[in-house]
């Protein structure tokens, strides 16, 4: 899957190691999370379906 361009939580580009991209578990929207948001357990909100992760 092609990487998301930016982190869904903070908007930073996903260039750093430790970032990831996946499809929202609840719908089919692409979600990107940057290394620091993943490291600090920053929540992400899917803009399409409202799912809040992790």
């Amino acid at each position: 899957m092609k990487k998301a361009e930016k982190c869904i939580s903070c908007g930073k580009g996903l260039i750093e190691r430790g970032s990831t991209t996946f499809i929202c578990p609840n719908c089919d929207t692409k979600i990107g999370r940057c290394n620091s948001c993943r490291e600090q357990n920053v929540k992400y909100h899917c803009q399409e379906c409202g799912f809040i992760g992790p």
Partner: protein
């Protein structure tokens, strides 16, 4: 339900995948004496004996969500791991019924990151039984940038976990039930079974021997 269980029981939603009583007699709700800030929202209360109690409504919802998520991947591209002994039989069973790849026991460093390592694989999704015990696998998943589903207890941090299933991740019976529910939900999601009744294995089949 015994009085003890009633006391641990939160208001339960009607549409759970299995009755709250089954969750509770399996000890899925029994956390540890430690609570992390990351897990706070999944914790319902602290008991008099100091054990933090997990909100099983959330456990149920998240098993469902995790199953939907997992179903988006080819099972051959998913790896499930458990260094913890009581998780090993449940993950082998998950693998048997869903085709997800399994690594039980020690996780050899380099398995995800070093192409010349013995047993090197390139999964697209990792499932960890305990982010603390399975830290090597989690770290390597971070290095290769794949998402992670984690079974997380009250003492776990959620670093690099993208989907959390809040649960007792240490108990023999709890791990059997959670992986049984997850297997069943994945098969239903994939259309391999039409309804839950078509899933024949029992929770006991998933349970590690003492």
């Amino acid at each position: 339900m015994t009085k003890d269980l009633q006391e641990d029981n939160k208001k339960i939603s009607e549409d759970m995948m299995i009755s709250d009583e089954v969750y509770m007699t399996s000890g899925v709700h029994i956390g540890t004496r430690q609570k992390t800030a990351d897990m706070k929202e999944h914790i319902y209360k602290v008991r008099n004996d100091g054990l933090y109690i997990i909100d099983i409504n959330k456990t149920d919802q998240k098993i469902n969500i995790a199953a939907k998520f997992i179903s988006k991947f080819n099972p051959e591209n998913i790896l499930v791991v458990s260094v913890r002994q009581y998780g090993q039989k449940p993950i082998r069973k998950l693998s048997e019924y869903t085709g997800i790849k399994v690594l039980d026991g020690r996780f050899r460093p380099g398995t995800l990151t070093n192409p010349s390592a013995k047993g090197f694989i390139e999964p697209e999704l990792l499932i960890v039984t305990d982010p603390l015990a399975d830290s090597q696998a989690l770290d390597e998943a971070r290095n290769i940038g794949i998402p992670v589903v984690g079974l997380c207890d009250t003492n776990n941090e959620l670093k690099y976990i993208d989907i959390v299933i809040p649960t007792n991740n240490k108990g023999r019976r709890a791990l059997a039930l959670v992986y049984w529910l997850l297997s069943r939900a994945i098969l239903k999601e994939n259309g391999k079974i039409k309804s839950y009744e078509n899933f024949k294995p029992t929770v006991e089949d998933f349970e590690a021997e003492i």
